[in-house]
């Protein structure tokens, strides 16, 4: 909470005041990046923020502070980054103080998303730390009159051959140059790792299990008021009449805030605010219109929204000759929710024309820009401090709650405003993962290998993150409303709706098209893995059917189409650990296999699992899951396992149960009764995650790698158990029963 006035400080100012090794705090990181365009590209996010002191500072006392623009989202990134810094600085992890995403302190690393924290920030910190270690060693060598490689580093000291030593603090004090990163770093080789590659207990867990202050929801400030927003009952509804009298007469009410269709109430105590919100909701009249599609016929609806087609991949002559064996299918995925267990929350304080927002946004810098625009403030006057929330799995209500708090705080200067969304509000207003339709036609050649591959997908964009003020619900409903920005199709290597649409398998003739839907009658945005979930589900279901057509084992069939040895290695590892070749099904049981390399350039993941299908009730139970993953060099193996287990279970829940429901006007899945998710009775008996370590290889994003393969492996196992393929997600009991003859 302190220090938000630092924003106004200049780099020079910090240079003068910090008095330590890494002074010169490069808030203007992007500016430096532009100066450096001629230099070779720096590793990870160093390319954008090249000053070492943007990442690491050591003061005269030897306190080591590491900065990351990434945020802890429950994925354990805090711990992994500490491990990296500790390894390269040759200190104990407990010595590292890590500051995460804060526009007042940390580099701008955009969003914490797309499983890129390790690739970007982890790489930057590792290189920066290695370079700082080298600088310290050079300085120590100079002062101890020895060579840098004669020094021993331990306990934040560098000791020469004669036993003389200097502490990091002493060294830092005498060094006063802001240093720009070099392209190459003296990285610690894998063989000498002491901290990296080993499980380290997560640093945030003790507080989380003992009631420590761990979340933005737990912030309490002097004079803080509790606010609740009354959201329109359906998107775009207009507030036509409001009787505030009853609410204003309630005890503890601080203010009713209305700005156009934005309506909120603030009270001294939290439950007063809840009650006031309900009274206000009853006193508000809205004009709604029927804008939502018919949920029952998703394919027709999605196709009707198509305005543009983009080619994602093309090779050879994709048109399928008439005399070939072809597999054709259409797959659908409904709108699905992030469904954070803790609804979104934020605290904002407007003081002396400067605004501070404590938020669990995934991108403090972009969100700052949006909020500043919404309030008509210069961005320098707005500071966003990431404070952990409940797991978000993408773009949930976090940014919107931050905007709500900011708008209310503007009306109540001097008082911290805490906004907590209600469960129904989170369910009804978060931006959902977009519904998708995919169609495939794939042919086998006479050699039993895939000869042709035509794949079409229909999807909105998967990212409507801020953005401008129009990406915020509050911004959209203010009297001076900011309209949502028009969506644009962008085809990039990482992919969006088309993520993982291009198969990693070798196919001589292929065409992959994204039929782009710019209109979003239902608000959508990034949900863990974006389009990869539906695309991998479609692709890997298809691979299974093609293997059947070819009379081949599905594991062998995949291997036959892969050139990448790392892909082959995870597939073999998963199959071996599962004992694929020795599998004997129990009655009603089936096995399924799936593989994907996330984004085609991040972690490799292969999975084998068993399901049991109860024909009479349509009940599906996933029993045993065996996974192999290659995320490059391992930083924290337990972290990788935890994330992968989580991804599997979340995707299992999407696959079996989840779909947003709505009528012509309103979202109707607005709580856990109407949007069921995984419960303990359906949690598998066992989940194994085997990690293929790749020493000295770059870190590869892990957190989303399991989403696609899990859905496909379940579908393939159901096919194996019953002979019936399911094409439409989720595989609810109704659908399973309908698909299976009795």
């Amino acid at each position: 909470m302190d220090g938000h006035h630092e924003i106004a400080l200049t780099r020079r100012h910090l240079l003068a005041s910090a008095g330590a090794l890494v002074v010169g705090f490069s808030l203007a990181g992007r500016g430096f990046a532009q100066d450096n365009t001629a230099a070779p590209k720096l590793p990870g996010s160093l390319a954008d923020s090249p000053m070492l002191d943007s990442w690491i500072r050591i003061d005269g006392e030897g306190v080591i502070t590491v900065f990351t623009g990434k945020a802890e989202l429950g994925q354990g990134v805090r711990t992994a980054l500490i491990q990296i810094a500790a390894e390269e600085l040759a200190v104990d992890p407990a010595e590292i103080r890590l500051v995460t995403a804060d526009t007042g302190q940390t580099p701008d690393e955009g969003y914490t998303a797309g499983s890129q924290s390790m690739q970007n920030s982890g790489t930057a910190i590792r290189n920066a730390a290695a370079q700082v270690r080298e600088l310290l060693a050079e300085e120590a060598a100079r002062r101890l009159n020895t060579a840098p490689d004669q020094l021993r580093a331990e306990q934040k000291k560098l000791t020469g051959p004669d036993g003389h030593s200097l502490t990091y603090g002493e060294l830092a004090e005498s060094m006063d140059l802001p240093v720009e990163a070099a392209p190459a770093s003296p990285l610690t080789p894998h063989a000498r790792f002491k901290v990296m590659g080993k499980p380290l207990q997560r640093v945030d867990i003790p507080a989380k299990v003992t009631g420590g202050r761990a979340y933005v929801q737990d912030l309490r400030m002097d004079g803080m008021v509790h606010a609740r927003v009354v959201r329109p009952p359906s998107a775009g509804a207009r507030l036509v009449a409001l009787d505030e009298s009853k609410v204003k007469a309630m005890p503890g009410i601080v203010a009713v805030i209305r700005d156009g269709d934005f309506l909120a109430v603030a009270a001294e105590r939290e439950f007063q605010a809840v009650n006031a919100m309900r009274i206000l909701a009853a006193a508000a009249q809205w004009q709604e219109s029927a804008t939502l599609p018919a949920r029952q016929d998703l394919p027709t609806f999605l196709k009707s929204l198509e305005r543009q087609v983009g080619t994602v991949a093309q090779a050879g002559t994709p048109d399928i000759p008439s005399d070939t064996k072809v597999f054709r299918a259409r797959f659908t995925r409904p709108y699905q929710m992030h469904g954070s267990i803790g609804p979104s929350c934020a605290v904002a304080l407007m003081q002396d024309d400067a605004l501070t927002v404590w938020t669990h946004t995934q991108g403090v810098y972009p969100d700052r820009k949006a909020i500043a625009e919404m309030l008509g403030m210069p961005p320098e006057k707005v500071r966003l401090i990431h404070t952990e929330g409940s797991g978000c799995y993408g773009h949930n209500g976090a940014d919107d709650a931050g905007a709500d708090a900011a708008l209310i705080a503007k009306a109540l200067p001097g008082r911290p405003v805490r906004v907590q969304w209600m469960r129904e509000q989170e369910h009804a207003n978060e931006p959902y993962g977009p519904a998708m339709l995919t169609e495939i036609a794939a042919a086998l050649g006479p050699d039993g290998k895939i000869s042709h591959w035509n794949y079409d997908l229909w999807s909105n964009t998967h990212s409507t993150r801020p953005g401008g003020a129009g990406s915020l619900l509050a911004g959209r409903s203010m009297a001076k409303a900011y309209p949502p920005e028009p969506a644009e199709m962008e085809i990039t290597p990482s992919g969006n709706g088309d993520r993982n649409a291009d198969p990693l398998y070798t196919v001589p003739n292929k065409r992959v098209l994204w039929h782009f839907l710019p209109d979003m009658p239902i608000r959508v945005s990034a949900l863990r893995s974006l389009g990869a979930y539906a695309n991998v589900f479609s692709l890997e279901s298809t691979m299974d059917e093609l293997a059947r057509m070819a009379g081949a084992d599905p594991v062998e069939f995949r291997l036959k189409h892969l050139d990448d040895p790392r892909a082959a290695a995870v597939i073999r590892e998963a199959a071996d650990r599962f004992a694929w070749s020795r599998y004997q099904p129990a009655p009603g049981q089936g096995r399924g296999f799936a593989f994907a390399r996330y984004k085609n350039h991040a972690a490799y993941l292969a999975m084998a699992l068993t399901v049991r299908v109860e024909r009479e009730t349509g009940h599906i139970r996933v029993e045993r899951v065996v996974t192999a993953i290659d995320s490059g060099e391992i930083v924290n193996p337990d972290g990788i396992r935890n994330q992968t287990e989580g991804g599997i279970l979340q995707s299992l829940s999407w696959t079996l149960y989840e779909q947003v429901t709505f009528d012509e006007r309103r979202i109707t899945s607005i709580d856990w009764a109407t949007y069921p998710i995984l419960r303990f009775s359906s949690v598998p008996d066992s989940i194994e995650v085997h990690i293929v370590d790749r020493p000295d290889q770059p870190f590869l994003g892990t957190g989303e790698a399991a989403q696609g393969p899990t859905g496909a492996a379940i579908a393939n196992a159901i096919r194996d158990a019953t002979g019936v393929r399911l094409y439409d997600l989720p595989f609810t009991r109704d659908r399973v029963k309908a698909a299976l003859a009795v």
């Binding site: 309900r278 009655p587 009940h619 979202i667 419960r679």
Partner: protein, 460 residues
């Protein structure tokens, strides 16, 4: 039920006389067969069998929660001890794999197993006897094409000397009338279809008809209300306690969807019934509704007037739509029941969110308006557990939150506020017994058993 034990002695005497004296107990075994090849059964027949099994709710008794379908083993508490349901999968050793079609039909028609043993009437053959041979064949085809499961039936735990099966023959002599169903030519086809299902396979009376001291349905008061697994099965005759009288359309909707705007959400054993009815065609649902509505008869003018009043009040309040919780906080009150209601119940039950996912408006609640408060006690104590992976009405259990006195205070408040019926008596003991298990209530996890209010849309 509570004085049943006193009557057991009398019962035993009668049964011994009847059973022993008449040697009716003896039935021949029907020769075992090799398990028929599932492929032998016609797919259409199997499909019809599935619909019939759904109407019969077979799965509910013959499956333990989380266990294998039809593998039996569920404990069915009766006043005479505990009976365990049998394995009706086609397993040859432990199930019905060696039963011929004739043996199967005999079991349903007359309550005797393949080996000739008398079956206890916990298996409702007093209803199943009405099922036609054709339908029995379809059921047989369905069950014989299930996954065989090896699961030994648990031995029943009955009071002496009821473990001696031939005694059942005496009971049958007194109470059992063999079918099959005879249509009433004076009624239309829908009525006869409904009667055939409701009285036969669907065995509505097994719960909704009161039983005498010997556990037999009281044929003089059909559908006058009974009990099942610790829950009241309300009267579905002219004495139905529903504040807004049922009509045929409401019954059909309720049976089809598992809830109705004016009658709430099916829970307890009825949730399984409506859940399974998912698999039954609309025409059969309509038939059952038609028949039951006829048995209820038109409501008295007084009930009609009362119902109209309730309806008017609710329509006036309006419907808030799903995501706006408009539960208005109660004014501070000295009345503990009112205060607890305001704090614990109102946030859902006054939210004006429509059923099935919103809280029931208690003015419409049969549980609050019924003479026996057992069901509302059960729901308060144990809540409505969520269906696994299905949208379902969910209510938290208040057993851990409200102590006995507070429960009584809320119950009194509910009755006073949302009903014109006289106050309940004996609440304290009822609540205490429900909590302690002296009054056992089955609150099953939803695993493996259909309870969802969602409707699949079974085709005809």
């Amino acid at each position: 039920m509570r004085f049943a034990r006193v009557l057991i002695t009398i019962l035993v005497v009668i049964l011994v006389l009847a059973g022993g004296g008449l040697l009716l107990a003896w039935k021949p075994a029907i020769a075992p067969i090799a398990r028929p090849d599932p492929a032998r059964f016609d797919a259409a027949l199997v499909k019809r069998g599935a619909q019939l099994a759904a109407a019969g709710d077979c799965i509910a008794c013959h499956t333990t929660p989380g266990g294998k379908v039809f593998a039996g083993g569920l404990a069915v508490p009766t006043p005479f001890g505990t009976i365990y349901s049998t394995n009706i999968t086609p397993d040859e050793e432990t199930g019905i794999g060696r039963w011929s079609e004739a043996a199967f039909i005999r079991a349903l028609r007359s309550g005797v197993d393949r080996e000739g043993h008398q079956l206890y009437p916990a298996f409702p053959y007093d209803h199943f006897t009405l099922v036609t041979d054709d339908d029995d064949r379809a059921l047989y085809a369905y069950l014989m094409t299930r996954q065989p499961v090896r699961a030994e039936a648990k031995a029943n735990d009955l009071v002496f000397p009821l473990g001696f099966r031939p005694l059942v023959a005496g009971w049958k002599l007194l109470y059992f009338r063999q079918g099959p169903f005879q249509p009433d030519p004076s009624k239309d086809a829908a009525w006869n279809r409904g009667a055939y299902l409701a009285e036969g396979l669907a065995h509505c009376g097994a719960c909704h008809t009161p039983r005498n001291a010997l556990g037999a349905e009281d044929r003089d008061h059909p559908f006058a209300g009974g009990e099942s697994e610790g829950w009241v099965a309300y009267a579905i005759d002219g004495k139905s306690p529903a504040p807004l009288p049922w009509d045929e359309a409401a019954l059909a909707f309720y049976l089809r969807h598992g809830w109705h705007l004016a009658h709430g959400v099916a829970r307890g054993p009825m949730a399984e019934v409506t859940g399974n009815l998912d698999g039954v065609p609309d025409s059969d649902i309509a038939g059952i509704a038609h028949y039951i509505a006829d048995r209820m008869g038109p409501p008295s003018p007084a009930r009609q007037a009362r119902g109209a009043g309730v309806k008017a009040a609710i329509v006036a309040a309006g419907d808030a739509g799903p995501e706006q919780n408009q539960a208005v906080p109660a004014a501070a009150t000295e009345d503990r029941g009112a205060a607890l209601y305001g704090a614990s119940c109102a946030s859902c039950h006054d939210s004006r969110r429509p059923l099935p996912f919103g809280g029931m408006n208690f003015q419409l609640s049969t549980a609050v308006n019924a003479p026996d408060p057992q069901n509302i006690v059960n729901v308060m104590m144990y809540g409505l557990p969520p269906a696994d992976g299905e949208a379902s009405a969910v209510m938290p259990a208040f057993g851990g939150t409200l102590d006995d006195d507070d429960m009584v205070a809320v119950l009194d408040y509910l009755r006073r506020t949302f009903s014109t019926q006289p106050a309940w008596s004996g609440l304290k003991k009822l609540v205490a017994d429900t909590r302690s298990g002296a009054h056992p209530v089955t609150v099953r996890p939803t695993e493996g058993i259909e309870r969802s209010p969602a409707h699949i849309g079974a085709e005809d």
